[in-house]
Each structure stands twice: as C-alpha cells, then as structure tokens.
Amino acid sequence: MNDEEREVLIEQAVSAFRERNAWGRILPSPAWQDLAPEDRAAVFERQLENRVVECALDPATRSTTVRAVLARLRERR
C-alpha cells in the first residue's frame, strides 16, 4: 500500500458512517479493519480533530457522530 492509498483508507475510517448488522449492532469500518495498528492510532487522532472541525462549523455544534446517533434514535421510534 502506498502513502496515498493509506491516506485514503484512513480518511474512509474517519467517517462517522458505520454499517449495522441484522441485530442493529454497529460494525467497525472495513477500512479501519484493513489498517495496521499504528494507522488506527492515526485514525483516532484524525477523527478527534475532524469532530472538532465539524462542531466548529455547525451552528448547533453537533458533530456527525452526534447526528448519526440522533438518526439512529429516530429510526427506532
């Protein structure tokens, strides 16, 4: 894997989108699973920075993680 491919994989794992299985359990990102442990640490730091950027740019200071959870709660109703 070259540096660009690795960066793209890390970026995919940074997303707040996560698949769920038939029982509703949230599943790890396939991109995250393909990464080496040191790259997973990089995903963590980038997710943290990215959620701050999302909060800063959102009028209600909600990150995409918060909105993902809200969407999940509304689906259950």
């Binding site: 790890p28 943290l48 959620r51 701050v52 950027v53 909060c55 740019l57 200071t61 995409t64 993680t65």
Partner: protein, 195 residues
C-alpha cells in the same frame, strides 16, 4: 483552556433528556463527545473508537429514559458515560480478540470525565471557519459534504457533489492538509489542543 462547565448546566441538560427530549440529549452529547473520545485514546489501536462512541451514546439514551435508573451527584451522567464507554471498548476488544494490542496498565490511568465550559472556543471556531472558507472549490465541496452529512456513506456523499469516490476522498485528504496549514499559520495546532 476554558473552565470546566458548571455541573448544573450539564446535569440540567441531561435531566431534560430524561423526559424523552431528544434535542436536549443531542446538546448533552455535543458537550460530552470530545472528552469522551479523548478518554478512549488507550484503546485506539485495538477497537474502532467511532463504534464505541456511538454505542455508548445509544446506551446512554436508553439509560436516560429509564425512569428506574438514578443519577446522583455532580456530572453523574458524564461519569456514567465514561464507565459505559470503557465497558463498550472492552466488549469490542474481546469480541475481536484484540486484547494484545493494549497495555493493561494503561487502563488503570484512564482520565476522569470533565467537559469545557464553552466548546469549541469562539476564537477556535472563527479560525476554523475562516480557513474552511479559503479552501479551493472542489476541496471545500468534498469536505463540506463530510462535515454536514458525514453519517451517510461516502459513496452517496461523492455522488451528491458529482465526484468519483476516490476523487472525493482524495479531495478530503488534500482539504484537511490545507486546513491544518492554514490553522498553523494562525497559531492553532488541533493536535496540541486535543492531546
């Protein structure tokens, strides 16, 4: 660094959520998310922390609307959320057999729950917004799609901005690099603020 948020503000927000108010719960999550994430750094190599944070919030909602559950003391909801997150992280680690990727001694020193009074700091918000506005068109469009609707699959977001998936992701990578450079010029290093 801002002062810690008054306990009654966070607790009042959680109390409103307990009546089934999803908007109040969203405000509570927005306050708690960053410190909660930071508390999970020790697990980053072993579990997908995004899964842990989302599952923790889903369980906190169930606990919030359970009238039999009692939350007592300052920041009780925050302290409870930190415990839930740690348990979810351990469950994920066991599920995928990744215990060897974490030093058990690290787990003894996990940080206690604390949230900031005003987050993000207004000056930081302005700097981020200014740098975002300066991004070249395609990079800004890709990053904006992620920032606004990043809980949706990347394939859908790429289609919404008429980009191929790989181009979309590469634009986000480039956009982030430019944002980081722009913020550094203003004396802002997110990695240091969040360490």
């Amino acid at each position: 660094m801002a002062d810690a948020v008054p306990a009654d503000l966070l607790d009042d927000t959680f109390r409103l959520a307990r009546s089934g108010d999803e908007e109040a719960f969203a405000r509570w999550m927005a306050r708690v998310e960053i410190p909660l994430r930071k508390s999970l750094r020790a697990f980053a190599r072993a579990v997908d922390v995004e899964v842990v944070v989302q599952e923790t919030f889903a369980r906190m909602w169930l606990a919030a609307v359970d009238s039999a559950r009692i939350f007592e003391g300052n920041h009780a909801s925050l302290r409870f959320a930190f415990r839930v997150a740690r348990n979810v992280a351990l469950e994920e680690m066991r599920r995928y057999g990744r215990g060897g990727l974490i030093d058990p001694e690290q787990l003894d020193g996990l940080p206690e729950g604390r949230v900031e009074a005003e987050w993000p700091d207004p000056a930081l918000r302005r700097a981020i917004a200014d740098c975002f506005e300066r991004l070249p068109g395609p990079l800004q469009r890709a990053l904006q799609a992620r920032v606004r609707e990043g809980w949706r699959p990347d394939r859908e977001l790429a289609e919404s901005v008429r980009m191929k998936l790989n181009t979309f992701l590469q634009n986000i990578v480039r956009g982030r690099r430019l944002m980081a450079t722009c913020l550094e010029r203003r004396g802002v290093r997110l990695s240091e603020i969040l360490s």
